[in-house]
Symmetry: C2
Subunit: 225 residues, 2 copies
């Protein structure tokens, strides 16, 4: 059975991505990261999604937060921006930007894929309803793939690990509709940056999620404050 | 004062590289990794080298060994190859190959560099007295740099972090001579893969080190069994 590593954050996009991988016939190896994110409750959701997917294995990887602490998502003394006009989300790199996050995640994903002999690493980046993060852009993924083709044993042997990004050109409502068709349990996905009991509905991540459900004419199963 | 992140493994090459960075006027941020390597005593040496360098800060980063366990350097139930004919070292990828190691290390180095606003990441890879590791080759470094140019905020802002590899085209005796000129304390560097009290003198890493000292007409200050 062909194998894939799926980066499962606990959010909506990575859940849909993982269900797409499963639908394509992959045996799934889940990989989730604790990097000091203030919404680390997303990891409980990642665990649930992994169980529902029936992952073969699921690594929860602790990263030393010291290297990421310039981000307001990690340094709790900094503010998360709220109530940004949704038209302006993605115009600049926001304060929630975590330095090099997807580069680190994908690098560790490659290592894990090589260790379990997986042929692909799935990641739920999207450049359409765009967060403003440089490491969600198609040119980043393309460049990372080129590097991945030569950085490791599988690459040298002519069998490089593929970075698969099925959501790259979908907008949020298309992602949600895709998830519905694959029976993704959205009640077990978490997006809010604040990580409190109820989602705030006001941070960039909540706003993009809510817009997606609205445009898809669906109700978000999460409760908002 | 300009800043650099230096990857300090505790080995000889990274020590010389870090002293070169200091000699070039950088304030040094040390970054060392525990990834389940059987010679994790190298980290004690990394700490000593960091202190002697006068690092501004030194992060010791624990990586989850599960993703690396296909390597004999991590999985202690596998054998390290010994007594390979020195002419044959580097011809194939050896069992001590750690999947994606330098990709992971450099990715985390980039994140750390961005967090402390450093302009460079120094890494002591060398392709001359070559280990056989794909991620020590010039083409890997070149490809990683291209990816680094666009993966993060500093890159997007037109000020990408440089990956600096001063040893890339030096052989081991040239590296050692360079280290002597910079007063690198080689007695605080560790190379042996076995990580026992005395260096074995027989693993690939010991053999390359001993050849380097011999060709430089110098005595290795380490004790061998």
């Amino acid at each position: 059975m062909k194998k894939a590593v799926c980066l499962i954050s606990g959010g909506l996009d990575s859940a849909v991505t993982s269900f797409i991988a499963k639908d394509q016939g992959y045996e799934i190896y889940g990989l989730s990261f604790c990097y000091g994110q203030r919404h680390n409750k997303e990891l409980e959701y990642a665990k649930k999604i992994g169980r529902i997917l029936g992952v073969k294995d699921h690594v929860f990887f602790n990263l030393d937060i010291d290297v990421f602490k310039s981000s307001s998502l990690v340094d709790r003394s900094k503010n998360i921006q709220m109530d940004v006009d949704i038209k302006d989300i993605g115009k600049d790199i926001p304060v929630t930007y975590v330095p090099g996050r997807n580069t680190v995640f994908l690098s560790i994903g490659l290592a894990y894929a090589e260790t379990v002999d997986a042929e692909a690493v799935f990641i739920g980046v999207t450049s359409t309803d765009y967060s403003g993060y440089p490491d969600c852009r198609p040119e980043f993924i393309k460049s990372f793939q080129k590097m991945a083709n030569i950085c490791n044993k599988k690459g040298v042997e002519g069998n490089p690990i593929k970075i698969v990004t099925p959501l790259l050109y979908l907008n949020k409502s298309e992602i949600i509709k895709k998830g519905i068709s694959l029976e993704v349990p959205f009640e077990y996905t978490w997006s809010c940056y604040l990580g409190e009991d109820l989602a705030c509905g006001r941070c960039d991540s909540c706003q993009l999620r809510l817009k997606g459900f609205k445009n898809a004419n669906l109700k978000d199963p999460l409760n908002y404050r």
